[in-house]
Amino acid sequence: MTRFFPFPLLLVSLVLMWLALTSLSLGNLIVGILVALMAVHGFAALQPSRPKIKKWHLVPKLIGVVLLDILRSNIAVATIILQGRRRQRKSGFLTIPLDLRDPTGLAILSVIITSTPGTAWMDYNSARGEVLLHVFDLVDEADWLDTIKNRYEHLLREIFE
């Protein structure tokens, strides 16, 4: 089974993408499955690491938390930009030690942090497990540390480790 369908999640999302780009019909479904199978086998030939999601039920919670946080920080950053120089603001770099070691989990954490306005993932040191962030509104370092560690890293560790 896994020999013919190596990456089932990727296969399903590629077929869905094909159907969204063309139109919903039987012919398109067949062509889409063929194209997706070819793409999945090509991807398997690259020998990527296999991420293992252990707790599926936490994935919707993670997506919800992230979407809400992105909306909130959109408003926060937009307010800061509109307020201009009237408001004293300090931005700066922040080093955070991480316990998460799973490569997929780290990749997802970096995408979450960078796509949230106000925080950007700058550098990661795998030997020390430390990440260098740049924070737009660095009022309280401990507050940001708490947000990243307890809100995202905790969930990601439960999902992947």
């Binding site: 959109n74 930009i81 995408v111 960078t114 796509s115 950007a120 795998s126 030997a127 260098l132």
Partner: protein
């Protein structure tokens, strides 16, 4: 400018489409304005993410509602653009940020934290306990 097909739109859908359009375009404008106005590169990295998160989201939602209500069947292919932008923008931003940090460190710019692995190497040199893997990984 006239949009004759928009007359078939029910009022609630028109208001929703208009609200999402204005919010999305407004957030993108604020992001680009901040990008133009902020002073340092590392501050400016944050501004365009407004346009790529809920700026794109708002316009994509508006387009989805508009075409779905007008054609009376779900038109969801716009969501591909939303997914695509949210997945690719962090990757480009991280690549650019790393390039900027690399260039600033090469010029020994004092605003940027020194390379962490350099400190690790110094500690190793003083204690002499760990070698090898750290040197290879800590680039």
């Amino acid at each position: 400018m006239s949009m004759p097909h928009a007359a078939n739109l029910p009022l609630w859908a028109a208001i929703l489409v208009a609200a999402f359009l204005v919010i999305g375009a407004g957030l993108t404008l604020i992001g680009s304005f901040g990008f133009w106005r902020l002073r340092s590169f590392y501050d400016r990295v944050h501004a365009p993410t407004l346009g790529t998160s809920w700026g794109t989201g708002g316009i994509v939602f508006a387009s989805m509602i508009y075409f779905t209500v007008l054609e009376l069947r779900p038109v969801v292919h716009e969501i591909l653009i939303g997914i695509f932008v949210t997945v690719t923008m962090p990757v480009t931003l991280m690549l650019l940020a790393r390039a900027a940090i690399y260039r600033d460190r090469a010029e020994q710019n004092p605003d940027v934290p020194v390379m962490e692995p350099a400190r690790a190497r110094l500690e190793e040199a003083s204690t002499g306990s760990e070698t090898g893997s750290r040197l290879q990984n800590g680039i």
